[in-house]
């Protein structure tokens, strides 16, 4: 029977991992704008971009 306990533990752990991933993604604002990033990633990067450091880190709280 102990193998079931092990399995349950593992499955809850994995599920918990996903839960925390979800919470992290919500906290970092990934659910606020679900359209713009999909367009943004298609734009060509410019060389000039790198000189200015990314000022938009995700806002906490």
């Amino acid at each position: 029977m102990s193998v079931i306990i092990l399995l349950i533990g593992a499955s809850v752990l994995v599920a918990g991992g996903f839960l925390f991933a979800f919470i992290w993604s919500v906290r970092s604002g990934q659910y606020e704008d679900d359209y713009t990033p999909s367009v943004r990633m298609l734009f060509d990067d410019e060389k000039a971009d790198t000189s200015k450091k990314s000022t938009f880190k995700t806002t906490k709280k």
Binding site: M1, I4, I5, I8, S11, V12, A15, G16, F18, L19, F22, I23, V26, R27, G29, Y31, E32, D33, D34, Y35, T36, V39, R40, L42, F43, D44, E46, A48, K52, S54, T55, F56, K61
Partner: protein, 814 residues
């Protein structure tokens, strides 16, 4: 590399009739005046935007989508962005600053395509002071990080304007940060509840399948404890979305729908604890977490639908943010709220008169279309009274303020309405049913409990107390309304009909009287049906007239251009618009005039001059354009459908020249013309006093009072950034579907009733067994999510089906 392609069909200079389209915005160009780098533009504004972009190597903008720009034609005189540097205003937009870097947030209604995102996010190449820009496309917002040592907030605003994205400036337009964190919290709550629900279900399954008996007692208790651990955060954290409103409601002495829910959650949790630790049987954590998860999901779904629709009931959003005040001979920008009686203000071309005022200097041509619906400007002389809400057309005026802004005519109108607020939400059918249902369930389970206690069977009594609450928890009932309405609203917003909330849908079903505004709603404001009398025009003459008419923004000029249709673009010289008279100009060395009889020098008929424009070519009168206000396409069919079961009215600010035209669909006594906004409001009130449920359709500020007074106020709009005081915002093109909307609302109601019946069947069957104590709580726990899921799929499926059926034509068109 960007693909520059030739936007016109044919080479310039050739004799073929061709249409030049603006490289920037895709509108047709009146002539070849605005040209740069082989590209043509419809106006100076569009050309300027292109110039800025090409100078900064940002022409990729034009490669991402064709004609991505927004036309700059007819844009009001240069906006004063200096107002943004007034500290009180500045802090509304700059929400965060760190060292030299400040973060500002603007709403840009003009944003509409991926090119916009690209350009706006490359703003830093336009000005070294701008560090970075981030776009939130669905909200049409931009966050800009800028260096305050290099650039002022006003410069940022002006730069956005210069590249064609005029920021939407409003004092109360503060970015909603609290709302954002609220949404995140809700999502996390749902996540936790979903996680716990899934796992509790998994852990509960062995007990269900084994009939409540697992051979290994250790494993059994482990499962139970684990379920408890999983359910704990849901009970404490996720479910407080119900506890808090329930508690708030109770404190006010009002039994809201959250009370039975909160009670069911707490009781189920308590019963489960009792089951595990005292009785050593299975708990009901799976049903508790499931309940919280589904209810939260339903609410989130509903909120999401409303989020995209922001309604504004503040009159100030129509007024300028700041006005130019003359102080000691100097012009100063002051916030609107600082304007006081006796102040001298400057009102420029295209600006609104912010308060009732006396004209002191200048010649006024005031366009009161906002207030009265009249599109033709009224001439005002020095010493005359100007009412707030009018827009000056022409030269700059100096006015002396007579009343403070808050006392003006328009404000009075709004304040009137605010006091007579419509009854909201509370006595909605759903709320009532939910409430009484909950109450009934509580009473029944208590009675059953008492009954079994008297019989001396404590165990059965406990079961009979708890199971009805689990089985008959009102969640299926609530979900049916939430999901039906949520799905309906979502569908409607996708086709261009935006409802304020679900209660509007419910009210629509009760409407028996429909009131229309005329201009801009029933009829097209710009493209009235036009005809020409006089010797028929030669193609060349049409080109001449079209060239001149294209210079003007007047509805009649636009109608003439539309009437002429395809034409050769020609350049116009010495163009002049004489307000209240007409327009004139030199086209190919021929002097053309369009306007009133006096202006042209024609003999005036005895008929009133309304709705006609005279044309002269080289001093010779060529004929008269007549403008008839005609129904928008598709509306006649709508009238046919509506007049069977609804009373139809017209309330129009215009004169009654079209009375006979509308008599086909409207009874004579139901047509009211020359109505001031206040008259409209009074008329709606009168109808309501006679127990009619009134729907009002209007297009503008002049209808705002009537829209708000009516039971269902529908703002019919062409532009997306118009946010009037209404319950529904409807795209103009959807107007012919009004009857479909009525039927859809009714179908929605039927679906809710049907799902009510289904869930009541579930509940009574469940209750029947539960009250006898024959239904084990475990079985109840299985039934609960099952009924929920079936109800949810039934309602969403049925609404989608109804929508498809009723709005089928639109699907084809899209």
């Amino acid at each position: 590399m960007p693909l520059y392609f030739w936007a016109c069909t044919g080479m310039p200079g050739t004799e073929t009739i061709h249409k030049l389209t603006c490289y920037h915005c895709g509108d047709s160009c009146p002539d070849t005046t605005f040209q740069l780098d082989d590209k043509y533009f419809c106006c100076f504004g569009c050309k300027t935007v292109y110039e800025i972009l090409s100078r900064n190597d940002l022409c990729d903008y034009y490669a991402i989508s064709d004609h991505p720009g927004v036309t700059q034609r007819g844009k009001a005189a240069v906006q004063k962005y200096t107002v943004l540097d007034i500290p009180t205003v500045r802090e509304k937009y700059v929400h965060f600053a760190e060292g030299d870097t400040a973060y500002a947030q603007f709403h840009l209604p003009a944003m509409h395509c991926s090119s916009c995102i690209w350009l706006l996010e490359h703003m830093h190449t336009l000005h070294p002071g701008i560090l970075q820009a981030r776009v939130d496309f669905p909200k049409k917002e931009i966050r800009i990080a800028f260096d305050i040592t290099q650039v002022q907030l006003s410069d940022v605003g002006a730069l956005l304007d210069a590249i064609g994205y005029e920021p939407y400036l409003r004092l109360d337009d503060t970015p909603q940060n609290p709302d954002k964190s609220q949404q995140r919290k809700t999502l996390i709550k749902i996540g936790i509840a979903g996680f716990a629900f899934g796992n509790c279900m998994m852990l509960a399954f062995p007990e269900y399948l084994a009939g409540g008996d697992i051979s290994d007692p250790h494993l059994q208790s482990l499962f139970r404890i684990l379920s408890l651990v999983l359910a704990l955060p849901v009970f404490i954290y996720s479910a407080n979305a119900f506890y808090i409103p329930a508690w708030k409601g109770l404190k006010k002495g009002y039994l809201n729908i959250d009370v039975p829910l909160a009670l069911a959650i707490i009781l189920t949790f308590g019963r489960s604890l009792y089951a595990i630790f005292i009785e050593h049987t299975a708990g009901y954590f799976d049903s508790m977490t499931g309940l919280v998860f589904f209810m939260l999901l339903g609410r989130y779904f509903q909120d999401l639908t409303y989020k995209t629709i922001s309604f504004d009931r503040d009159y100030r959003s129509y007024f300028p943010l700041a006005v130019s005040r003359i102080e000691a001979g100097k012009e100063m920008q002051v916030p609107l709220s600082d304007v006081q009686k006796g102040d001298m203000l400057l009102v420029r071309d295209g600006e609104l008169i912010p308060a009732d005022a006396l004209l002191v200097k200048g010649k006024g041509y005031i366009d009161y279309s906002f207030v009265t619906g009249e599109s033709e400007p009224v001439e005002k002389k020095i010493g005359e009274l100007l009412y707030a809400g009018g827009r000056q057309v022409g030269s700059t005026l100096e006015v002396s303020v007579l009343k403070e802004v808050s006392q003006s005519y328009l404000t009075q109108l709004w304040n009137n309405i605010d006091t007579g607020k419509k009854q909201e939400e509370h006595n909605s059918l759903l709320q009532l049913t939910g409430k009484y249902f909950a109450l009934a369930v509580l009473l029944i389970s208590c009675a059953a409990f008492a009954f079994w206690m008297i019989q001396g069977e404590t165990q059965t009594a406990l079961d009979a107390l708890i199971t009805p609450l689990i089985v008959a928890c009102p969640c299926a009932l609530l979900l049916s309304a939430t999901f039906t309405n949520g799905n309906a609203l979502r569908y409607l917003s996708r086709i261009g009909i935006f409802l304020k909330n679900a209660f509007v849908l419910e009210r629509i079903t009760q409407v028996d009287t429909v009131v229309f505004d005329k201009t801009g709603t029933l009829t097209q404001a710009n493209t009235s049906s036009t005809h020409f009398t006089g010797d028929s025009l030669q193609p060349y003459e049409k080109d001449l007239i079209a060239a001149l008419a294209m210079q003007s923004n007047h509805p009649y000029s636009k109608a003439i251009v539309q009437w002429i249709g395809e034409h050769v673009p020609l350049a116009v010289e010495k163009y002049q618009a004489i307000a209240g008279a007409g327009i004139e100009g030199m086209v190919e060395d021929i002097w053309i005039r369009i306007g009133s009889a006096e202006f042209i020098g024609a003999v005036r008929d005895d008929i009133s001059e309304r709705g006609r424009s005279y044309v002269s070519i080289a001093g010779k009168v060529r004929g008269i354009f007549h403008f008839n206000n005609a129904f928008r396409p598709g509306l006649e069919a709508l009238m046919e459908q509506l007049r069977n079961d609804k009373q139809l009215y017209i309330l129009s600010g215009d004169n009654n020249s079209d009375r006979s035209y509308f008599a086909r669909y409207f009874a004579q006594q139901n047509m009211f013309f020359e109505q001031s906004p206040h008259d409209k409001l009074k008329n709606i009130k009168y109808l309501q006093q006679r127990h009619h449920v009134v729907m009002m359709l209007g297009d503008g500020l002049n209808d705002a009072g009537a829209l708000q007074q009516s039971d269902v106020g529908i703002a019919v709009t062409q532009s997306t950034h118009f946010t009037p005081a209404s319950d529904v915002v409807m795209d103009v093109g959807r107007l012919p579907d009004l009857n479909a909307l009525f039927r859809f609302a009714k179908a929605g109601r039927r679906i809710i009733v049907a799902s009510f019946v289904i869930s009541i069947l579930y509940n009574t069957t469940g209750l029947f067994f539960a009250l006898q104590g024959a239904l084990s709580p475990v079985l109840a726990a299985i039934l609960m999510p099952l009924s929920t899921i079936s109800i949810v799929s039934f309602t969403t499926g049925m609404t989608t089906l109804a929508a498809r059926r009723l709005f089928a034509r639109q699907h084809m068109r899209e």
